[in-house]
């Protein structure tokens, strides 16, 4: 038993490095996708202090809209464009209907409002596009398919799906673009000001409403990218919503306001989950992927409650 837990998995890792590398790659890609979802959370949390529970459903909703529009005979790229417009309208609507009336409410109320939003979007998405899983139109969007196998001498080969590589690249591009946007543009500066202090930002003439609409739109774009990538790997369905909960442990590792934190947290969870499942999951009957991420986060919380990049909080009275 102890051998199975402490020695055997490592022996396997060493004796079958090709398989191990494959697992690592899987973990990496999953991690990137978690990181993308978490990124959407971070964007909104930074700018408004709202923990947007609906980010997961926004991913599904964006994917569904894209595929749904294409199914109605609209060419793929036009559908993509239209989806971006839809996400923009959604962002504006959320700002107008949900965020603005709830300014200055306690965090928990805002969180629950986004849970309500989740429910609304689930119902709305299913109402418009139907509840069945759909195939992502990856090919039509010009995303690469197929795979490349790397041989590792005599030790076997590692297979990389092209779509995964594309996902990783797009993630990197998006994070870079967001970083530039945050640090170099006027809106980015306003955004950071809002994140620091709502009232102070208001007093120097920054429009909160405009900033919020922008971040929700940005989060919507991130959701769209995530939806395409994730959809291409499996399919577009509401099951993704459960996956999106995994962003929570990711955020706990990385901190709620840190973009690099979201990426690193995502990768840690991605790797941890895949390695745990493949090498240790079998010992308890498998399927531990469904909760391992939370347990990792929980253990982490007990030792470093402020996250990897957070500052230690001093309580005052």
């Amino acid at each position: 038993m102890l051998y199975d837990i402490f020695i055997d998995p490592f022996v396997q890792m060493v004796t079958m490095p090709d398989f191990f590398l494959q697992v690592l790659w899987e973990g990496f890609v999953t991690g990137i996708l978690y990181a993308l979802i978490a990124l959407g959370f971070v964007l909104i949390f930074k700018a408004s202090g709202v923990f947007n529970f609906a980010q997961g459903i926004m991913v599904v909703f964006a994917g569904l809209t894209l595929v749904g529009l294409h199914e109605h005979g609209i060419p793929a790229y036009l559908a993509l464009l239209l989806t971006i417009v839809v996400m923009g309208i959604l962002a504006y609507g959320i700002e107008r209907v949900v965020m603005r009336p709830l300014v200055n409410q306690p965090d928990i109320i805002l969180l629950m409002a986004t849970i309500g939003l989740t429910y609304f979007l689930v119902g709305f998405g299913e109402f418009v596009f139907g509840g069945e899983p759909k195939q992502m139109i990856a090919e039509q969007l010009g995303l690469p398919t197929g795979s490349t196998a790397f041989e590792m001498g005599e030790r076997g080969l590692v297979i990389l799906q092209h779509i995964d590589i594309a996902a990783a690249l797009i993630a990197i591009i998006m994070v870079t673009a967001l970083a530039i946007f945050f640090n170099k543009t006027r809106i980015g500066r306003a955004l950071r000001a809002v994140a620091d202090d709502h009232q102070a930002a208001l007093s120097v003439g920054i429009s909160l409403n405009q900033i919020w609409a922008i971040v929700w739109f940005a989060a919507g774009l991130v959701a769209l990218a995530t939806g395409i990538m994730w959809g291409a790997r499996s399919d577009v369905s509401f099951a993704l919503e459960i996956v999106a909960f995994k962003a929570l442990p990711v955020l706990i590792l990385g901190g709620f306001t840190s973009i690099p934190g979201a990426i690193i947290g995502g990768l840690i969870i991605g790797f941890g989950e895949k390695i745990g499942e493949i090498y240790w999951g079998g010992l308890v009957g498998g399927g531990i992927e469904s909760w391992l991420a939370y347990i990792i986060a929980l253990i982490f919380l007990l030792f470093r409650p402020q996250g990897l990049f957070g500052e230690k909080i001093i309580e005052r009275v």
Binding site: F51, V97, V98, P101, L102, Q105, D107, I108, I109, L111, M112, A113, I115, G116, L117, T118, Y119, F120, L121, V122, G123, F124, E126, F127, G131, I242, F245, L248, P249, I252, F256, V284, G285, G286, G287, I288, S290, W291, Y294, I295, A297, L298, L301, L302, P305, E315, V317
Partner: protein, 358 residues
């Protein structure tokens, strides 16, 4: 005009601290109990009992459970569905092992298993708060769900992976299993729910209830006043999980007859949470109202168009329900964050001065 407390003077602290200090409220609650215990059993058909009243009561109890934790002690939980599951599986195992013991007793005992597990997952609440705590409870939700699937012992190695409730008698009347009459089930569920609700109401108006609210409103001040945060929070987790556990056990024993792990999924957790939010955080009466609303709205949506001759497909009803519930949650949070319970209060206030506006 009718709802007025003028002239009702209290001459003792006992009277002032009773659950319903106003006479009209006491009459109202008596009427409600009379309807629940006499009128409904006399008049209702099986459909009404099985599809509306029993689930309503089960969900009310679950909502009370979550309300204790979230509404009164201020600890957000997204795992109430799983804690209900613990109760259900515990009761199932207990009745398999002790088939001769009274099933109601076992259902009540099963809550303690749930309470113990709830307290374990409540441990991190000492160091973490709010959202972070929500993650702990999500961990509980997914971990426990996994246990329900992966530990075959829990469902007696049943091929279907589900638990099926055997026939159990009490005083010669079948109360659980497929043969039990809706009426018998209804009385059991009603009795358990009313008794637990009453006990919870008592706890909430005393020292312990106050200590929960202290932690909720200002945890630092509470601690500086001698409240031990860990014990207090764990007690809230325990009590809340106990109630949820009993509700979960009732759900399968007296309503569904069979349950699979997915019956206690995160969807259920959210459903309960919505009942609590819409009903009113920190209000027992609100829990009943929230449960009634969330449970009865889909039924309502399903049958009203039917009677009008409009045919709406079942999925559409479900989608509409989602949309309406979601929109209503946002609406309530914006307009009245304290839910139906607060609306009820406002209504009573208006009644008090009726027919004058002020």
């Amino acid at each position: 005009m009718f709802y007025r407390e003028a002239g009702q003077f209290k001459t003792s602290y006992e009277a002032d601290q009773s659950l319903f200090p106003i006479r009209q409220d006491r009459i109202g609650i008596a009427v409600l109990l009379l309807i629940a215990f006499v009128l409904i059993p006399l008049t209702a058909n099986d459909f009404f009992l099985t599809s509306i009243m029993i689930p309503f009561l089960v969900f009310s109890l679950a909502a009370i459970g979550l309300n204790v934790l979230t509404g009164f002690a201020g600890q957000l939980s997204l795992g109430s569905g799983a804690f209900m599951g613990v109760g259900a599986y515990a009761a199932y195992k207990l009745t398999s092992i002790f088939p001769d013991v009274n099933v109601i007793f076992l259902v009540l005992v099963s809550g303690f298993f749930s309470a113990a597990i709830g307290a374990v997952f409540g441990l991190p609440s000492l160091r973490i708060k709010g959202l972070y705590l929500a993650v702990t409870t999500l961990a509980a939700q997914f971990f426990l769900e996994w246990c329900f699937i992966r530990i075959p012992w829990l469902y007696n190695y049943n091929a279907s992976g589900a638990i099926e409730i055997p026939k159990r008698d009490m005083f010669g009347i079948t109360v659980s299993g497929a043969e039990a009459t809706p009426l018998a089930r209804y009385f059991v569920v009603l009795a358990i729910t009313v008794v637990i609700a009453l006990l919870v109401a008592n706890v909430l108006r005393g020292r312990i209830g106050r200590s929960w609210m202290m932690i909720r409103d200002m945890d630092i001040a509470a601690e500086l006043m001698g409240i031990r945060p860990l014990q207090t929070k764990l007690l809230a987790f325990g009590v809340s999980s106990y109630i949820c556990g009993v509700a979960g056990a009732m759900m399968v024993f007296f309503w569904l007859n069979a349950a699979e792990p997915s019956s206690y999924s995160i969807t259920l957790s959210f459903q309960i949470l919505f009942m609590v939010i819409l009903g009113g955080l920190g209000s027992l009466g609100g829990s009943f109202m929230g449960a009634a609303f969330i449970w009865i709205l889909p039924v309502f949506l399903k049958f009203i168009p039917g009677t009008l001759g409009i045919d709406i497909p079942a999925e559409t009803v479900e989608h509409l329900t989602f949309m309406i519930v979601g929109a209503l949650i946002i609406f309530f949070l914006i307009v009245e964050p304290h839910g139906f319970a607060r609306l009820w209060q406002i209504g009573k206030q208006k009644l008090r001065v009726w027919p004058f506006p002020y």
